[in-house]
Symmetry: C5
Subunit: 140 residues, 5 copies
């Protein structure tokens, strides 16, 4: 998933310097993200993870999410949580496509957030989705 993101960054924001950090599992992401911010001076972090189908995998993803939100609050820095769950598609091809789509869209979100806090305002409430086609806004 990181390679999709790196591809987008090199194309859309070639001046951004990238720091990569690979951890053994989901639950190791929060401290790695915090170290990227505090020790490697990253302005924003993309955290990639793939959750298997066992209940324990969903639990791990939940724990990682809670820790990532805490890391964001401790550093006042965005950490985009780019997780794919194995039950989101019927086969590996489908999962691959979701992972690619979600990685690319969240990388573009990260670039937008770094520019201005209102950069994504035109898309608010428009049913934007990462990993799937957009759903569109709710009818009145």
């Amino acid at each position: 998933m990181a390679s999709f993101a790196i591809g987008v960054l090199k194309e859309s924001a070639p001046n951004i310097q990238i720091e990569r950090y690979t951890v053994p599992g989901f639950k190791d992401l929060p401290v790695a993200a915090k170290k990227l911010i505090e020790e490697y001076n990253c302005e924003i972090v993309l955290a990639f993870g793939f959750a298997g189908k066992a209940e324990i995998d969903l639990q791990c993803a939940h724990e990682a999410n809670m820790g990532l939100i805490q890391a964001e609050l401790m550093t006042n820095t965005h950490i985009l949580k780019v997780f794919v769950y194995s039950d989101e598609a019927k086969n590996e091809k489908g999962l691959h496509d979701i992972a690619k789509d979600r990685s690319i869209k969240h990388t573009l979100n990260a670039i937008a957030l770094m520019q201005d806090k209102e950069m994504l305002t035109p898309f608010a409430g428009k049913g934007k989705r990462q990993g799937f086609p957009d759903e569109g806004p709710i009818a009145r």
Copy 2:
């Protein structure tokens, strides 16, 4: 949902200065709220979110809520959590009405909280609801 809130603010509290911050998803709200308080000097925050019907969406809303409460405790500042869940109504029209009603009432709550900690006391235990008609107090 933010547009309903902005409408109320412009009418009921025209002197209030509004800062808007749009994030990709639910779980990005806590750090954005904290940044609004600490970097943009906001006195109160309204956090809007719409949760889909998948179990993972409810999980996300839970994680966002936990993070928002933590952000409140770290800043001693109210962050009103204005979330709509897709299973709260039968169709999109119903969801739209809930979102509108909840946004407007919580914006009025925010204005009240900024004035005085007892401003809402007359309504305590009166079964006030945001998003739906009030339920009224419990019979003795």
Copy 3:
């Protein structure tokens, strides 16, 4: 529920100064409690809440509890969590009685905790309940 507590306080501890703070919902309690402690110099806080029957209401109560415990740890101050759940009684009269009993007993608990950390020791393990008649100790 607050009015039951205020009644008890006026009768049993007339010298105590009361600060009241009303918030829109459950999840707003933690930051309000922390502000009462840090900005209004309260020595102890009673947090009242009424949870509806929807699953989301129980979730809210859980999130509020987690936040209140965190607020206690950040301030080294007791915050008694006086929550009533709508499924605790069959009708509104029953809920009213539970709310009254629980509010009164927890207010007395608060008065005891303010006096001495061993004040409640004679009642430890005695099956004391708030909102219901006591259950008594476990038989050997």
Copy 4:
């Protein structure tokens, strides 16, 4: 349960000074434990609780545990969580026995932890249980 612990302490570690703190319920334990550490200079804390059978009781125990772990992290001090759940035995006699066994064993654990971080190493992976007979190690 505290009385079993006090009995063990008086016998096995007569020089230890005991501070007792009784709270109304489970969720009041974390802040009381933190106050014992920070205001009463306790080196270790034993937190006793008895959880009823309702789902809300298990929730309370979970919230208390999360708060106790947080209190430990904020103080770098062990707080042994000595909880008994009413579904652990068929009758009150059984619960009484579990409560006694668990209290005694955890008090001995507390004494060991105060002496040295390797004091319990000989028992690691040996299937030691508190409240029940030991299970023994896993066969290879």
Copy 5:
């Protein structure tokens, strides 16, 4: 499980100094890990635990994980969570093998993380598993 790790460390990284800390249960791991980092100057921690099959055991593991992630964030230090769940294998032999495999692989992960944040990058997204054979990457 610690003995497998110590074996690997003595062989693969003989210059590393090992500090061991044994606690009574799962939920005591977070504070022990934090003390190892702050009081014993450990650069990385391996936390071993074995969860029984009762629902309460899974709850304990969840609480321990949340606390360990928090300890990591408070110290900017990795704590690898090496947990085995009794439902992961059909018999004790199977559990023993999982515990051994997971301990060894996570010890190697710890050694890699201490060297460089990109040390594990060649294995990212390759379906690496600890405790089981690797799953391999997702097909495109």
